[in-house]
C-alpha cells in the first residue's frame, strides 16, 4: 500500500469502514512556553477502535486530552490548528466544552470512582443532565453496567461504595459511569495499566462490543494490546528531549505492525527503544 505517511501530509485514505469522527489538521499544542505537539494530522474513524502508541511521555495522552478539551483545565494550555468532531470545530467560538465532554467521554489510567455507592456513581452523569425519575435512572444504570461488562458482578451490591471494588472492577465502573451519559466517543488513557489481567481481558472484550456504537480511542504502551483490540494505530514520537512530539505513522493495525513504513515505527515496534 503506497500512500504517504500521516506525518506532515495528507492522512491515508480510509480503508476501514466508517466515516471520520475526528478530523485533526495541523494541530500544535503548547503548555505555556513548552511546545508539546506539532503538526498532527489524523482522521479517526467512527465505530472503530484506534490505538495511540509510542514511548511514554511523548504526548499521546496530551493529544487525547485535546480531543475533549480536558486540557482547558490546565492553566497555560494552548491549541493551534483544528480539531473537528463530526465536522464541527471543537475549539470553535462559543462551543460548550462541558457538553463536549459529555459526548466525548474519558477513562483515566487510575480508576477514579467517586466516594459514593456504585449506583450513585453510574447515576451521577444522568442526574447531572436532569434525569430524576428513579425508574429511568435504574434502566440507564443497568444498561451502562451491562455495556461495561460489570452488571453481573455488582447487580446485588449496588449500594456498596464504588471504592470497595477491585481495581479492575473500579475501572469498569468508571467505564459504566461514562457510558451512562451516552457518549459518541470513548477516550481511554492507558485504561489497563493499573488493573489485573482478568479485568484487562474484560475491558478488551467490552471494547470490541462497544465499537459498533461508540468510537473508541485508546492510548496504550502495550503493543500487544494495541495489536489485539484496535482497527487502526497511530504511532507518536518525541525525537529529542525538549522537541515537540509528532505523529509518525498512522494506518491499519495489521499493516503497521507487520510492515511499518517508517523506520522509527519499526524500531519502536521491534523494541529497539521506548
Amino acid at each position: 500500500m503506497t500512500t504517504e505517511s500521516a506525518f506532515g501530509g495528507v492522512p491515508e485514505a480510509s480503508t476501514v469502514a466508517g466515516t471520520p469522527k475526528f478530523t485533526v489538521r495541523s494541530l500544535d499544542f503548547y503548555y505555556g512556553d513548552f511546545h508539546a505537539l506539532t503538526g498532527i494530522n489524523i482522521d479517526v474513524k467512527d465505530n472503530a477502535v484506534t490505538a495511540f502508541i509510542g514511548p511514554s511521555g511523548c504526548g499521546k495522552s496530551t493529544f487525547l486530552r485535546c480531543l475533549n478539551r480536558m486540557n482547558d483545565l490546565i492553566p497555560g494550555a494552548r491549541v493551534e490548528g483544528t480539531i473537528t468532531l463530526d465536522g464541527a470545530d471543537v475549539y470553535g467560538a462559543g462551543v460548550d466544552p462541558v457538553d463536549l465532554r459529555r459526548r466525548v467521554g474519558m477513562i483515566f489510567q487510575q480508576p477514579n470512582p467517586f466516594p459514593m455507592s456504585i449506583y450513585d456513581n453510574v447515576a451521577f452523569g444522568p442526574r447531572l443532565h436532569g434525569i430524576k425519575k428513579k425508574s429511568e435512572l435504574d434502566t440507564i444504570v443497568e444498561q451502562a453496567l451491562v455495556r461495561a461488562n460489570l452488571w453481573k458482578e455488582v447487580r446485588d451490591i449496588m449500594e456498596r461504595g464504588g471504592l470497595t471494588l477491585s481495581g479492575g472492577q473500579q475501572q469498569r465502573l468508571c467505564i459504566a459511569r461514562v457510558l451512562a451519559v451516552q457518549p459518541d466517543v470513548l477516550l481511554m488513557d492507558e485504561p489497563c495499566s493499573a488493573i489485573d489481567p482478568t479485568s484487562v481481558q474484560k475491558v478488551e472484550d467490552l471494547m470490541a462490543e462497544l465499537k459498533s456504537s461508540v468510537t473508541i480511542i485508546i492510548v496504550t504502551h502495550n503493543m500487544q494490546q494495541a495489536a489485539r483490540v484496535s482497527d487502526e494505530t497511530a504511532f507518536f514520537l518525541q525525537e529529542k528531549q525538549g522537541t515537540p512530539a509528532e505523529l509518525i505513522e498512522f494506518g491499519r493495525t495489521a499493516e503497521l505492525f507487520t510492515s511499518p513504513r517508517d523506520r522509527r515505527t519499526e524500531d519502536y515496534i521491534t523494541g529497539r527503544f521506548g
Binding site: 475533549n68 480536558m70 483545565l73 492553566p75 462541558v98 457538553d99 463536549l100 465532554r101 459529555r102 459526548r103 467521554g105 474519558m106 477513562i107 483515566f108 487510575q110 477514579n112 470512582p113 467517586f114 466516594p115 459514593m116 455507592s117 451521577f124 452523569g125 447531572l128 443532565h129 461504595g161 464504588g162 471504592l163 470497595t164 468508571c174 459511569r177 461514562v178 451519559v181
Partner: protein
C-alpha cells in the same frame, strides 16, 4: 566524648517532651481538682447571685454558646466559599496575592486589637451596642482566616483525578465542586470548623469589648452578656470567689477539650464509602 554529649543531649530532649506534657497535665489536673467540687447542676444552671457572685454561672454558659454559635453561623459560609474561590476558581495574579496577604494579616491581628476594633466599629459606629451580635461579628473576623485556611487545605486535598472524572462526564465546574469536591472534603472542613469553634470559646479580649461584662442571660442577639472567659477573668481579678473561678475554669477546659477531641475523632473517621 561525643557519646557522653549524646547521652546528655538526648536526656535533655526527653525532659523537654515530658515537661511539655507535664505543663498540660498540671493545668488540667489542678483545675480539675480545685474545680470539680463546684460542678453541680445548680452551678451550671443558675445565675450568679449577690456581690460575691455566689450561685452558678448559667448565663455565662449561655452567652458563650450563643456568641460562638452565632459567630460560626456568620463566618462559615463566607470562609468556605472564599476557600472554594481560592482553591478552584482563582488564577494566580494580583488579586490572589492581595487576598492571601490580607488573610495572613488578618490572622496575625492580636485579639486585643480585634476587640478594640469590634468596639469602635460594631459597638459604637454601627450602634449595635454591647451585644451578642457585636461579639459574634468581631469573633467572625477573627475566625475568618482560620476557617479559610483549613477549608482551602481540605479542598486541595481532594485528588485531581477525582475532579477529572467528574469533568470527563460533562459536569460543569460548579457541579463538580458542589457534588464531588466539597462532599469529599467535608470531614476535613468540619474538623477545621470545630477547631475554630474551640478557639472562639476560649477568646476573651474580643468579647469583653464587644459583648460586654454584664451578667445577664442574653435572649436576643442585641442583648449583652458575659462569656465564661470574661467571667473567669473577672472572678480571678476580684479574687473574692475563687471557688466559682475554679468551677468556671474547669467547665471552660471541658468544653475546649470536647471540641479538641471531637475534631480529632472526626479527622480519623473515613468516609462512608471508602474502604
Amino acid at each position: 566524648m561525643s557519646k557522653w554529649a549524646n547521652r546528655v543531649a538526648v536526656t535533655l530532649l526527653w525532659i523537654c517532651g515530658l515537661l511539655t506534657v507535664g505543663a498540660l497535665a498540671a493545668v488540667i489536673v489542678y483545675v480539675f481538682i480545685r474545680g470539680v467540687g463546684q460542678l453541680n447542676l445548680d452551678f451550671i444552671l443558675s445565675a450568679p447571685r449577690g456581690v460575691n457572685a455566689e450561685g452558678g454561672i448559667g448565663p455565662t454558659i449561655v452567652a458563650t454558646i450563643y456568641v460562638t454559635g452565632l459567630a460560626m453561623l456568620i463566618v462559615t459560609p463566607i470562609a468556605v466559599l472564599a476557600a472554594v474561590y481560592l482553591a478552584e476558581y482563582a488564577v494566580q495574579g494580583k488579586l490572589v496575592t492581595v487576598i492571601r496577604f490580607a488573610a495572613d494579616t488578618l490572622s496575625s491581628v492580636p485579639s486585643i486589637v480585634m476587640g478594640l476594633f469590634g468596639f469602635a466599629f460594631f459597638v459604637e459606629a454601627m450602634d449595635l451596642g454591647f451585644s451578642v451580635l457585636s461579639g459574634a461579628l468581631a469573633l467572625s473576623f477573627l475566625m475568618l482566616p482560620i476557617v479559610m485556611r483549613t477549608t482551602e487545605e481540605a479542598i486541595r486535598a481532594v485528588p485531581r483525578y477525582i475532579r477529572w472524572g467528574s469533568y470527563g462526564l460533562g459536569a460543569s465546574k460548579w457541579q463538580t465542586v458542589s457534588k464531588i469536591v466539597l462532599p469529599s472534603a467535608m470531614p476535613r472542613i468540619l474538623t477545621g470548623l470545630i477547631l475554630a469553634m474551640g478557639r472562639a470559646v476560649g477568646e476573651t479580649a474580643v468579647v469583653i469589648f464587644t459583648m460586654g461584662q454584664a451578667i445577664n442571660l442574653p435572649i436576643s442577639p442585641l442583648d449583652s452578656g458575659r462569656s465564661m472567659t470574661v467571667h473567669l477573668y473577672t472572678l480571678a481579678m476580684e479574687g473574692i470567689n475563687m471557688d466559682a473561678a475554679y468551677g468556671t475554669a474547669l467547665l471552660l477546659m471541658i468544653m475546649v477539650l470536647l471540641f479538641n477531641l471531637s475534631a480529632r475523632w472526626l479527622a480519623r473517621r473515613k468516609g462512608r464509602f471508602e474502604e
